[in-house]
C-alpha cells in the first residue's frame, strides 16, 4: 500500500483542569489516512471526537495540552515544528478545520472579503488584495456560492450559506487534510445534503486530498467514509472499512452502537432500538483493563485486567477486545434478537 498522507501514532492529549488534574481525552490514538480517502470517526458525546479533531491540528492552547505521540503529515512530524512554521505552512494551508459550530465561526463585524485577506496574507499568498479576492471569488464560484458573499457580513448570510462559506474559507488553500467536526449537525436536511455534496465534490476534484469526518450520525458516515473508526473514552475501539464496521462490527461497543441507531432498511420498523446501559467512564480516573467493561454485555473478569491492545496495525480491520472475532460473532449470534 502507498505511503499514507497522514499517519498518527499513539497520540495522547489531555485537558488540565483547574485542580491541576490531567484528563486524557485522547489516549493513544493511531491511524493512517491515505490519499483520496475519508476517515469517519464516530462515537457518543464526550468520547473525545472533537478533542481528537483539535489535537490533529498540532496546535494546542489551554486547557488542551499535548501529551505524546506523533502526527506525520506528508513526511513531516508536525509536532516537532516551531509554532511559526506550523502556523504559516500548515494551519489552514495543508491541514484545515471546519468547526462544529460554523454558525459563529466568523467574526460578526468583519466582511468576508476582509477575512479572506487576513487569512491569505498570513500565509504569504498573493501580493495584492485584488489577487487574494480573485482567488476567493474563484473558490466561492466553484462551490456554487455567489461572489457577492465576499461583500457581506456573516450576519447577512443564511445558516446554510454561512456553513458553505465557512467550508469555502477553510479550503481556500486546497488543504491536504480536511478535518470536519460535525459540519452538518446544525443544519436542516436539505442544507446537509448540499454541504455533503460540496465536500464530496471537493474530494473528487482533488481540491482536498483526504478528509477526516467526525460525526455522531452513523448513517451519514456510511455514505461518505471509506474507513470508520469507532471511538470510546478517548480510544479507538475499532477501525476498519466503512461497510464492515457498520454492517458487521466486531467490537462489543460498535456492535451495541450499531444496534442503537435507526438505519433506514427493511425490517427496521419491526425492530426495537436498544440502548447501551450506563455511561462512559470518568476520564479523570480510568479503570484498568478494557474501558468498556462496565457496560459490556459480554464482560468476563479478565476484561478488568490490564489493557487489551488493538490488534496489529497492519490488519485492515482492527478492534480492541480480548476476545477474537470468531468468539464475538458466536456471542452475537446467540443474542436474543430485539424484536417487538
Amino acid at each position: 500500500m502507498a505511503e499514507p498522507i497522514l499517519s498518527v501514532r499513539d497520540l495522547k492529549t489531555y485537558y488540565r483542569t483547574r485542580l491541576k488534574e490531567n484528563v486524557y481525552a485522547v489516549d493513544g490514538v493511531s491511524f493512517d489516512l491515505h490519499d483520496g480517502h475519508v476517515l469517519g470517526i464516530a462515537g457518543e458525546s464526550g468520547c473525545g471526537k472533537s478533542t481528537l479533531s483539535l489535537s490533529l491540528m498540532g496546535f494546542y492552547f489551554p486547557p488542551l495540552h499535548y501529551g505524546s505521540g506523533s502526527i506525520v503529515l506528508n513526511g513531516t512530524d508536525i509536532m516537532t515544528l516551531p509554532y511559526e512554521t506550523l502556523r504559516r505552512d500548515f494551519l489552514g494551508k495543508q491541514i484545515a478545520y471546519i468547526p462544529q459550530a460554523a454558525m459563529n465561526a466568523l467574526n460578526p463585524t468583519r466582511r468576508i472579503s476582509r477575512y479572506v485577506v487576513d487569512v491569505l496574507s498570513e500565509h504569504d499568498i498573493g501580493t495584492t488584495e485584488k489577487q487574494m479576492l480573485a482567488l476567493a471569488e474563484e473558490k466561492l464560484t466553484f462551490l456554487g456560492l455567489p461572489p457577492r458573499v465576499l461583500n457581506a457580513y456573516p450576519g447577512e448570510l443564511s445558516g446554510g450559506m454561512k456553513q458553505r462559506t465557512v467550508i469555502a474559507l477553510a479550503t481556500l488553500l486546497n488543504p491536504t487534510v480536511l478535518i470536519a467536526d460535525e459540519p452538518t449537525s446544525a443544519l436542516d436536511v436539505s442544507s446537509q445534503k448540499v454541504v455533503m455534496a460540496m465536500l464530496h465534490r471537493m474530494l473528487k476534484q482533488g481540491l482536498v486530498k483526504s478528509m477526516i469526518f467526525i460525526t455522531h450520525e452513523l448513517p451519514l458516515l456510511r455514505h461518505v467514509a471509506d474507513e470508520i473508526a469507532v471511538m470510546y473514552a478517548g480510544e479507538f475501539v475499532e477501525v476498519g472499512p466503512a461497510t464492515d464496521v457498520i454492517f458487521s462490527p466486531i467490537h462489543p461497543y460498535s456492535h451495541a452502537l450499531m444496534g442503537s441507531i435507526i438505519v433506514p432498511e427493511e425490517g427496521m420498523k419491526a425492530r426495537s432500538l436498544s440502548s447501551i446501559p450506563g455511561a462512559p467512564p470518568n476520564l479523570k480516573n480510568v479503570p484498568p483493563g478494557c474501558r468498556f467493561a462496565e457496560r459490556c454485555a459480554y464482560v468476563v473478569p479478565e476484561c478488568r485486567m490490564p489493557d487489551p491492545v488493538l490488534a496489529a496495525m497492519m490488519e485492515e480491520h482492527q478492534y480492541r477486545c480480548r476476545f477474537d472475532e470468531q468468539e464475538l460473532r458466536g456471542k452475537y449470534a446467540l443474542e436474543v434478537p430485539a424484536h417487538v
Binding site: 494551519l91 478545520y97 459550530a101 465561526a105 467574526n107 457581506a152 465557512v166
Partner: protein, 395 residues
C-alpha cells in the same frame, strides 16, 4: 433573526456610505439651526432641526429613515411621559412650598386669621389653588414657550438657576466619564487577556470600586485625602474668600476643589467599566470565530484585534448612557463634597419643596438621557454591522 436574514442587494451607489449621508444630514440640520431667527426658543429650534434631519435621512436612506422616524416617535412619547412624571411626582411630596417660604414671615404673626389670609394669598399668587391637572396644562403651555417658571424659594427664573449649575456638574462628570471609560476598558481588556496575577488584582479591585456605594466611597476619599492628609480642600466649588474671579488664585482654587470629586467619580467609573469590559472580552475570547481563525493560521495579534473590537461595542453604548447621565450622575458626590452642581441644587430644591425647580432639574436630566439614547441608536449602526442590518431591514 440573523439566521433567516436574506442577502441584501443594495444599489451600488448607496452601499457603504451611511456615514456620509448622516454627516450631510447633520450639517444641513446645523445650518438651518443657526439660520433660524434668534428669537425662537431653543426647544423649537432643536425640534425643527431634528425634523429637517429626519426628512433628509428618509430621502437619502429610506430604510434607515424609517427606523429613525420610529425611534423618534417613541422617544417623543417617552418624553411626554417623563414630562408628566416630572410634573406630578414632586407635587405629591408631602409639604407645601408656601409654608417654607413663610416660615420666617409668620414668626411675628399671632393672629390666626391673618396668617391664613397671608398664606392663601401666596397660594393664589403662585397658582397652587388650581387643580393639579389645570396646573399641568399651564406648566406644559409655558414650557413650549420656553418658560420653565420661577424658583419658589430662590425667587429666580429656573432657567437661570439651571444654567448656572449645569457647568459645574458637567465639569466633574464629562472628564470623569471619558477618563474612567478609557482607563476602565483598557484595564478590563488587559485583565481578560493576560489573566493570572494581573486579573487577580484588577478584578477584585474593580469589583470593590463598582459595588461600594458612591457616597460611602466619596466620604472615605474626603476623610483620607481631604481631612486626614489634607491634600485637597473638602468643601464647595472654589475658595469663597477670593473676591477677584479673574485671578490665577481663583482658578487654582477651582482646580483644587474640583480634583477630589473628579477623582472619586473617575475611580467609580473605572471600576464599573473594567468589570464590563473584562467579562465581554472573556466572552469574545472564547467565541467560536477565535478558534476558527486560530486554526486557519491567523496570528494571535490579529485575532486579539478582532476580539477587542467586538468586546468594546457594548461598552460604547455604556459610554453614551453615562454621558446621558452626565448632568445628574454626580448628585451623590456633589452632596458629599458640597459641590455647587445640579445634583446638589436638586436636593436643595426637594428639601424646600420648590416645585418648578425640581421639575426643571428632572426635565434637564430626562432630556439629556433621551438625547443620549437616541444618538446611540443612530451611531451604533455605524460601528456594528449586525445592528446596521437590523436598522435598515424593512419590517
Amino acid at each position: 433573526m440573523a439566521e433567516h436574514a436574506p442577502m441584501r442587494l443594495e444599489p451600488e451607489a448607496r452601499r457603504g456610505k451611511p456615514l456620509l449621508y448622516i454627516m450631510a444630514a447633520l450639517a444641513a440640520g446645523a445650518v438651518i439651526l443657526t439660520a433660524l431667527s434668534p428669537y425662537a426658543s431653543l426647544g423649537w429650534r432643536i425640534a425643527l432641526a431634528a425634523l429637517v434631519m429626519t426628512v433628509l435621512l428618509s430621502y437619502t436612506l429610506p430604510a434607515f429613515g424609517k427606523y429613525l422616524r420610529k425611534r423618534i416617535f417613541w422617544y417623543t412619547a417617552t418624553f411626554f411621559v417623563a414630562l408628566a412624571l416630572n410634573f406630578f411626582l414632586p407635587r405629591l411630596i408631602p409639604g407645601n412650598p408656601v409654608d417654607i417660604i413663610l416660615q420666617d414671615l409668620m414668626m411675628g404673626i399671632t393672629d390666626v386669621s391673618r396668617a391664613t389670609a397671608l398664606k392663601n394669598q401666596y397660594i393664589a399668587q403662585l397658582g397652587l389653588d388650581k387643580s393639579l391637572v389645570e396646573q399641568f396644562f399651564i406648566y406644559t403651555g409655558n414650557l413650549f414657550k420656553g418658560e420653565l417658571g420661577m424658583s419658589l424659594y430662590l425667587a429666580q427664573p429656573v432657567a437661570k438657576v439651571l444654567a448656572s449649575k449645569i457647568p459645574w456638574s458637567v465639569a466633574i462628570m464629562m472628564p470623569a466619564i471619558l477618563v474612567g471609560w478609557l482607563v476602565g476598558n483598557m484595564l478590563g481588556a488587559q485583565a481578560a487577556y493576560k489573566k493570572g496575577v494581573y486579573d487577580k488584582v484588577i478584578f477584585p479591585l474593580s469589583l470593590f470600586l463598582s459595588s461600594i456605594p458612591s457616597f460611602i466611597f466619596s466620604m472615605l476619599m474626603l476623610l483620607w485625602l481631604g481631612v486626614s492628609w489634607n491634600w485637597f480642600p473638602v468643601l464647595g466649588g472654589f475658595d469663597a474668600q477670593i473676591i477677584n474671579k479673574q485671578s490665577l488664585v481663583y482658578y487654582r482654587s477651582l482646580v483644587a476643589h474640583w480634583a477630589l470629586p473628579f477623582i472619586s467619580q473617575t475611580l467609580i467609573i473605572i471600576g464599573g467599566q473594567a468589570i464590563g469590559m473584562r467579562s465581554m472580552a472573556l466572552y469574545e475570547l472564547n467565541a467560536d470565530y477565535v478558534l476558527f481563525a486560530k486554526l486557519q493560521g491567523i496570528r494571535d495579534r490579529k485575532i486579539t484585534r478582532y476580539v477587542f473590537r467586538n468586546a468594546v461595542l457594548p461598552q460604547v453604548s455604556g459610554l453614551a448612557l453615562s454621558l446621558g447621565g452626565m448632568v445628574a450622575g454626580s448628585t451623590l458626590i456633589e452632596i458629599v463634597f458640597s459641590y455647587p452642581g445640579l445634583g446638589q441644587q436638586l436636593m436643595m430644591a426637594i428639601r424646600n419643596v420648590d416645585y418648578p425647580l425640581i421639575s426643571g432639574c428632572t426635565l434637564v436630566i430626562s432630556i439629556t438621557m433621551l438625547v443620549a439614547n437616541l444618538l446611540i441608536d443612530i451611531v451604533y449602526g455605524l460601528i456594528d454591522p449586525r445592528v446596521r442590518s437590523a436598522q435598515t431591514e424593512e419590517s
